[in-house]
């Protein structure tokens, strides 16, 4: 209309008279018409682009499905959905497309409508946790691409793989062993094992113990050839070495050895008269004492303590004698118990180890004593590399923390260059993985040692490190292990527990090792006192298939009585009843239940049955009836992960089974292990 009016086409008398004005050229009018159409097209395109937004399309497809299944108009939510979590500073719009996420019946639907797998949403309600706090990704986004389902430029948190998601679990779950995680729990355990906390400040892990031998008196213990070999390559001597390889140059090794072999501290080895030493008898003692419960010989045996096949070539005989006689004098913090051997036994055992377990390994060719003049330089290396962070040595502070703090390590800014050079995608997880695998790979001058992690171990440690985020987690969202002080046994009982290092394998009140699955907290309610007393003196495994067996510590009868008395009176659980009715009818009913539930698949009764659970013959002499009932009713409660299945018994059934089990007579000839 306006265009028409602007083309005077003989209407305006004025122009013709003026003679100056001409019509607007047709060329311009055509251009104008074309441009107007294009502008209209652009406007329409903009509207269509907005109207055909991905989330809108998904919502209409979802509504179609709803109508098809439920008929009528489904009560599908319309518009962009979002979960706002002010305390986490997150807005998650994922549910705009993931419309079936909270519906269990959508579990097998195609994405993006699939219901959430597993029981996760029960414990992590979407309105409290949103999506991206666990999964990563860009919650604000409303398209597949922008939500960072795949890595996205300029977004540092792409959606995590299943494994890397555990790092996100670990941001709130600061327990040592967070529930339902594998890589995270493994990574944290590895970080404890390798004493990371000795050099680094790690949030939530600061109270962890650092375990490493004290270095005072090292000259009395090891040979220069061994020390050189060890410093050059710890895993060359000990495959499971917890100490990393510090990548020392030969001259550094020489200097460090010179420093370490100087006399430090006050350590005296016993003077031993080796005449009459009988290695053969020592070997018998070695086997009877079950040293391989903790130590291994040629890779066979326990993993709690070092491999012994080559130790004779490492340490001196006299030192060995002193060590076995009283390990606590040389290393107050050692896990090794002080066995009750007489001096002859110690001598024979030391002779056996020194002679028969002395296959040379990882020794340096140079056996000479290092030049003492190098000690000053060695001391500087000792300081620079932070050796004293793990190892105690007279005159040095403990736990120097020479490494950087690890808070925020999961968000650290990474230099992509070394990764790109190695053909690795320069992501943060990959950077941590590469660094953990070998610190020199990302920084040639790194002070951190190479721990020689296997690939999966390095990946686990990376997950644990990634869980250390820079942003503070709201305190209400953090779950921690209960903060209880380490258990310190008192009095005579305490002295015995320390002497025999019971807590190296057993746990009391959360303190102690995990080699033994027998937690001592309620042992008095579980086992009969006379059985405990007898077992401590002569430990015979009740499980046939069990490899770890309690060592023969040669505990005396008086000591056993004291320990058993204390355990039976103090280490009890009030929730466990002492006695349950056990009449003949109950025994018969129990026998029937025993057969019905297939208990003999795992347990031996009489001469037949499985090797999985304890031999039940004579268990009446062993087990407390109240405990047996409690155990049968809910085994997972007492021992998570146990092989004893929960049969869902009623109390009456559990009592009947107990009556039957405890009525079983002992076998005539108990097999000695």
């Amino acid at each position: 209309m306006a265009v028409a009016a602007l083309t005077p086409a003989g209407k305006g008398q004025g122009h013709r008279r003026a003679g100056l004005a001409r019509r607007i050229p047709a060329r311009l009018l055509r251009t104008f018409a074309v441009l107007s159409v294009v502008l209209l097209a652009v406007a329409v395109a903009a509207v269509v682009q907005e109207w055909r937004a991905e989330w809108r399309q998904w919502q209409s497809r979802f509504a179609e499905g709803e109508t098809a299944v439920h008929g009528g108009d489904g009560d599908t939510e319309q518009g962009i959905q979002q979960i706002w979590l002010p305390d986490l500073d997150r807005v998650d719009r994922c549910t705009s497309c993931h419309l079936g996420i909270a519906s269990p019946e959508m579990k097998d639907a195609p994405q993006p409508f699939r219901g959430h797998s597993g029981p996760w949403l029960d414990s992590h309600r979407p309105d409290r946790f949103g999506c991206t706090a666990c999964h990563g990704g860009q919650g604000e986004a409303t398209t597949y691409r922008d939500a960072a389902h795949q890595p996205l430029p300029f977004w540092s948190e792409p959606m995590a793989s299943r494994e890397l998601m555990e790092a996100r679990c670990g941001t709130c779950h600061q327990e040592r062993n967070p529930p339902s995680t594998y890589w995270l729990a493994r990574g944290r355990a590895l970080m404890t094992d390798r004493n990371c906390v000795a050099c680094h400040e790690i949030p939530g892990r600061d109270s962890e113990e650092v375990r490493a031998p004290r270095l005072d008196g090292l000259a009395l213990k090891v040979s220069p050839a061994w020390l050189r070999g060890w410093l050059a390559d710890p895993r060359g001597y000990l495959e499971r070495s917890r100490m990393g390889d510090f990548r020392l140059r030969p001259e550094e090794i020489e200097a460090l050895a010179a420093f370490l072999l100087q006399p430090h501290g006050v350590v005296e080895a016993d003077e031993v008269d080796w005449t009459g030493a009988d290695p053969e008898r020592g070997g018998e003692i070695f086997r009877a004492s079950r040293c391989v419960t903790c130590h291994s010989v040629n890779g066979r045996g326990g993993t709690l303590a070092p491999e012994l096949a080559h130790v004779g070539a490492k340490v001196g005989r006299d030192w060995l004698y002193s060590w076995i006689r009283d390990p606590h004098r040389l290393q107050p913090d050692t896990l090794m118990p002080r066995f009750r051997f007489d001096d002859d036994q110690v001598r024979d055992l030391a002779a056996y180890i020194a002679e028969d377990l002395a296959e040379p390994k990882g020794l340096d060719a140079n056996q000479a004593d290092p030049d003492p003049d190098l000690a000053a330089e060695g001391r500087r290396i000792f300081e620079r590399r932070g050796c004293y962070s793990c190892h105690e040595l007279e005159g040095f502070p403990v736990r120097a923390r020479i490494g950087p703090k690890l808070a925020g390590e999961g968000d650290r800014i990474v230099d992509p260059a070394p990764l790109v050079a190695r053909g690795i995608e320069p992501t943060r997880p990959n950077w941590l993985f590469t660094k953990v695998s070998g610190p020199e790979r990302v920084l040639e001058t790194a002070r951190m040692p190479t721990f020689g992690f296997a690939e999966d171990e390095a990946a686990a440690v990376s997950v644990a490190l990634l869980s250390l985020r820079a942003q503070d987690v709201p305190p209400g969202r953090i779950t921690r292990d209960p903060d209880r002080p380490p258990y310190e046994p008192q009095g005579e009982f305490g002295a015995l527990v320390r002497r025999y290092r019971c807590l190296s394998c057993h746990q009391i009140a959360g303190t102690g090792g995990t080699l033994s699955t027998v937690v001592l907290d309620r042992i008095g309610s579980q086992l009969r006192r006379d059985y405990i007393e007898q077992f401590i003196q002569n430990p015979i495994a009740v499980r046939v298939g069990l490899a770890e067996r309690m060592p023969h510590l040669n505990i005396t009868a008086e000591e056993a009585a004291l320990l058993a008395g204390y355990l039976s009176t103090v280490m009890v659980d009030d929730a466990v009843e002492a006695e349950v009715p056990r009449d003949a009818a109950a025994v018969a009913r129990g026998k029937e239940l025993f057969d019905r539930h297939g208990c003999q698949a795992c347990h031996i009764v009489g001469d037949s049955g499985g090797f999985v659970g304890p031999d039940l013959n004579g268990s009446g002499q062993r087990l407390q009836p109240g405990w047996t009932v409690a155990w049968l009713l809910d085994p997972e409660r007492w021992k998570p992960g146990t092989l004893q299945p929960d049969h869902g018994l009623t109390r009456e059934e559990a009592e009947a089974l107990t009556a039957y089990t405890l009525s079983l007579p002992a076998r005539k000839a108990q097999v000695l292990p």
Binding site: G12, G14, L35, L39, A46, E140, D146, F154
Partner: protein, 383 residues
């Protein structure tokens, strides 16, 4: 409806219409002149324009394009202000909201972004046009000065807007840009302090940039634009060679061409907004310096110069250039060559200006495409 009623409604409608448009739809030559004079929107135009300047080739319509871009920026900017929150904790999040949740939000932001970049380029080209056609000569010297100020204002508007998304790109571009300011002796540091409201870019800086970008600079700009237009008319219309005096009524010839260019600009800007999304990088983080940290592209020529010497690039060259531009019409007082592209009698002046313009463009291109980490030379196609 009865005849008298219809008549009454018609008369009432006419009364209202006439109270707004005194002339009505102009049909005669007189009416059209009167329409041009009586309308606020139109009266800044001359009633008649010289036919020479109506030709597209004589102005390329660049000044008008710049003005339209400014209008688009005002409209989209006001819409964006409804969602944007000028606080470091919320700014980036509100950008994300605009992009992902606001209806037409992304389109709006794209339009604003590309119009802003376009305006910087177009204003620069407009200045080149004015120079190459000798249009700054008497009596238009002062309007050239106003134009130079408008160029500076355009840069300032673009620069202040650059910080608002509060992403890494914004943060570090402003860090680099404001550090160039600080190179000025004596006044540099205080000026930077005043601009940022502190020594670092934080809450104070964001708010200052926001107020500058949304209130102070647009008001200044609008006033100067009005002055610029006013002076065009008062200085005898757009420059044209002295001989060509033939005139045509502004209605419809000028107005139609203005309308045509408006549609053209709208198509271009909105098509760009549809096709290309404005970048939004990670949230601003003072602890993570990108390598290289680059100023906005129109300052990359300066940054490139700063690379050769801080004082040279940060102080000497820009100051000299601004002063030269401001005094240019008063120094170059020779007549002749007005309203003609690359006039023979102005060959030397045009050559010098063209060289300088090419240097500016080349430096900017180098800074934008050929500089990588540590400001080392890179080949953009090898990245």
């Amino acid at each position: 409806m009865s005849e008298p009623t219809r008549g009454r409604i018609h008369r009432a409608w006419r009364r209202i219409y006439r109270s707004v448009f005194r002339i009505g739809w102009p049909r005669t030559r007189q009416q059209r002149l009167a329409a041009m004079l009586s309308s606020l929107a139109l009266h800044v135009h001359p009633t008649r324009v010289r036919v020479h300047v109506l030709r597209f080739s004589s102005t390329l319509g660049l000044g008008l394009v710049a003005f339209y871009l400014f209008l688009i920026l005002i409209v989209t900017g006001l819409a964006l202000m409804l969602y944007y929150v000028p606080h470091p904790d919320a700014a980036y999040r509100s950008m994300k909201d605009i992009q992902f949740a606001v209806t037409f939000g992304m389109f709006l932001r794209n339009t604003h972004r590309w119009a802003a970049h376009g305006m910087v380029a177009v204003v620069f080209l407009h200045m080149c046009r004015v120079f190459f056609t000798g249009s700054y000569k008497r009596p238009r010297e002062f309007n050239w000065v106003v134009g130079v100020l408008l160029l500076l204002l355009t840069l300032a508007l673009s620069f202040t807007g650059y910080l608002l998304p509060w992403d890494q790109l914004a943060f570090w571009a402003i860090t680099v840009g404001t550090s160039i300011v600080a190179y000025f002796p004596l006044v540099g540091e205080p000026a930077r302090y005043l601009l940022l409201g502190g020594h670092e870019i934080g809450q104070a800086a964001l708010l200052r940039f926001y107020v500058l970008h949304c209130v102070i600079l647009p008001l200044l700009m609008a006033s100067l634009i009005a002055l610029h237009f006013w002076r065009v008319v008062k200085d005898g219309g757009l420059a044209a060679p002295p001989g060509r005096m033939r005139r045509a009524p502004a209605w419809p010839h000028l107005l139609f061409r203005e309308l045509l260019i408006l549609v053209f600009v709208l198509v271009l800007v909105h098509a760009a907004a549809l096709a290309f999304d404005a970048p939004l990088e990670q949230i601003a983080d003072a602890a993570r310096t990108p390598n290289p940290a680059k100023a906005p592209w129109y300052f990359l020529g300066l940054q490139e110069l700063v690379h050769y010497g801080a004082i040279l690039g940060g102080v000497v060259v820009p100051t000299a250039m601004i002063i030269a531009l401001l005094v240019l019409p008063y120094v170059d007082r020779r007549g002749g060559g007005v309203g003609v592209w690359f006039a023979r009698e102005r060959r030397r002046a045009n050559t010098v200006f063209a060289l300088l313009a090419v240097v500016v463009v080349v430096l900017t291109v180098i800074g934008t495409f050929f500089r990588g980490p540590n400001w080392d030379w890179v080949w953009p196609w090898l990245r």
